[in-house]
Symmetry: C2
Subunit: 318 residues, 2 copies
């Protein structure tokens, strides 16, 4: 019998990425086309189906080898039914994405949210390869996440599992309000947005920092300044690392994962950041729950989404 | 074919409890005998096997109807292998409990730690009946716990999942050291021990409280005084509730369980305590992650262990 292949689709606001994976999660082909958000829901649905067809047409594989199509998408989903309830950056509202694609493509289709899918990609075929229990953080504009137990995504009662950015980890005395309306969420300090905010506050306060000469401060500027010895910048990065480490210390005794995987733009700070996170994690985590637990960088980058989406089919995360 | 039955064993330092459950977790028979800890490991192993035989002999069922025997036991275990590595209150060290019982009883045997097993009991056939995703707290001398996802125990990489008492939840400024050596663990404030400590501190400080006339303060004394309007006692219980609520707020965005179940001696404070926990949970949990999430009392009491142990077999938590 011919080799089975798994198609993963990562639906973003600008582009739809598509990939073909084998049963081990190796990414054999990739393809990308415009989402065409401005043309509305029908165009987006049509594009998803078309690009899935296209990538197989352009590969050495036949459509008959496709075991299924997995789709990762940002938004509030009814995962078992395969509905997109709504999405912040796509004009999809109460759309039966799974039903549409299964009819169009005549294969099994599974959908899940983009953060969960990226976590599954890293856990299955990226930094967590061979490790069944991983917790993934994505440090970007916000702090996203995904929980993988026994190789499967934990979705939670309302699909809110893995929303690590909203762990209320900052004590009241120094908490600020998060975009979600609550006080002290992890992403108020450990996201790129949080780092930029702390830097701008420091400059506005008149702290002596090289950042005061930077026009439009980005998280990378803060990290670079910290690495170059700017004490104000270093304190900001240390604070971001501190609350990441504390959040992991808590998760360590709730789920006791084998591995924490950190991706997203801020993670490019590399060992400078990771060493600080590990130090805090060591300090606050009970000995048995931290033994041999790894805190490592994601390795799939922007491909985590398509790989994880393909993985949905293999893992059959309904 | 005749009805299948499931035998659960709860091995404590003083007594071994045994129960027979049906496939729905209804407890059909119970039996209890002395552990005989002082007679050493062989006697304990023999007693476990004997009591499992005894309960079936004394019931209307035949041994042939037994699908398996599940065992809950306090200690560090190698769960897949069924070994007891060591136990704080039983003279068992590197004992092949599963192998011994399978040879003696000629049925499938599974072991797991007592807190996980009690959580499974409550989730499967107690307060969480019909709910697949629960997080269970036991508020006793310490704070124990167990995580049930899709009806199964989450064990974690080193068996440390569900060690909720060691969530480092108290901020540094007001943290004290836990028995585990770390600072700010949940059980330093929310266990019976924590409540008693805070009460004794208050009395020693000279705070005006009715507790200053109590000889040997127990957690129940503090809770009773709080309910009767003693402000110092009320503040102590509020603090215990506060950190419980905050820990649940964090778990809500990590696992998004449908239900938090609280058992153990301190939970007997009832709605007085639960209402305070819910208020904090509401305040710190993102809206979608708390929607329809319940915080409720355990209902099986001391039977949670035997029911959950029987459940190990049905759920086949290896």
């Amino acid at each position: 019998m011919s080799q089975k292949i798994y198609v993963g689709v990562d639906v973003g606001g600008t582009a739809i990425k598509v990939g073909i994976c084998d049963a081990e999660g190796a990414l054999l082909h990739t393809y990308e086309g415009p989402t065409e958000t401005s043309k509305g829901a029908d165009a987006i649905l049509h594009n998803i189906a078309q690009y899935a067809r296209d990538i197989v047409d352009q590969s050495p594989f036949e459509w008959e080898q496709v075991e299924g199509v997995g789709v990762g998408i940002a938004g509030f989903l009814d995962i078992p039914k395969g509905f997109v309830k709504y999405s912040a950056n796509l004009p999809l509202k109460n759309v039966d994405l799974k039903g549409f694609l299964e009819e169009k493509l005549q294969v099994k289709v599974l959908i899940n949210n983009d953060a969960n899918v990226a976590a599954l990609g890293e856990a299955w075929a990226g930094a967590g390869k061979g490790i069944g229990n991983c917790v993934c953080y994505t440090l970007g504009t916000g702090v996203g996440g995904g929980i993988i137990i026994n190789g499967k995504i934990v979705e939670g009662f309302s699909g809110m599992a893995g929303e690590l950015g909203h762990m209320a980890i900052v004590p009241d005395l120094e908490a600020i309000q998060c975009g979600c309306g609550k006080m002290g969420c992890l992403e108020t300090v450990s996201s790129a947005t949080g780092i930029i905010r702390m830097a701008k506050d420091a400059v506005a306060r008149g702290d002596r920092t090289s950042l005061s000469t930077v026009d439009n401060i980005m998280a990378k500027d803060v990290i670079d300044a910290a690495k170059e010895g700017d004490e104000v910048a270093a304190r900001i990065v240390a604070r971001a690392a501190y609350y990441l480490g504390r959040s992991m210390a808590q998760i360590a005794v709730v789920l006791n994962p084998e591995c924490f995987i950190i991706g997203g733009g801020v993670s490019k700070a590399g060992e400078y950041l990771f060493a600080q996170i590990r130090e805090v994690f060591e300090k606050y985590t009970q000995d048995e729950a931290k033994e041999n637990v790894k805190i490592i960088a994601a390795i799939l980058g922007n491909n985590a989404g398509v790989v994880g989406a393909a993985g949905l089919i293999l893992k059959d995360n309904k």
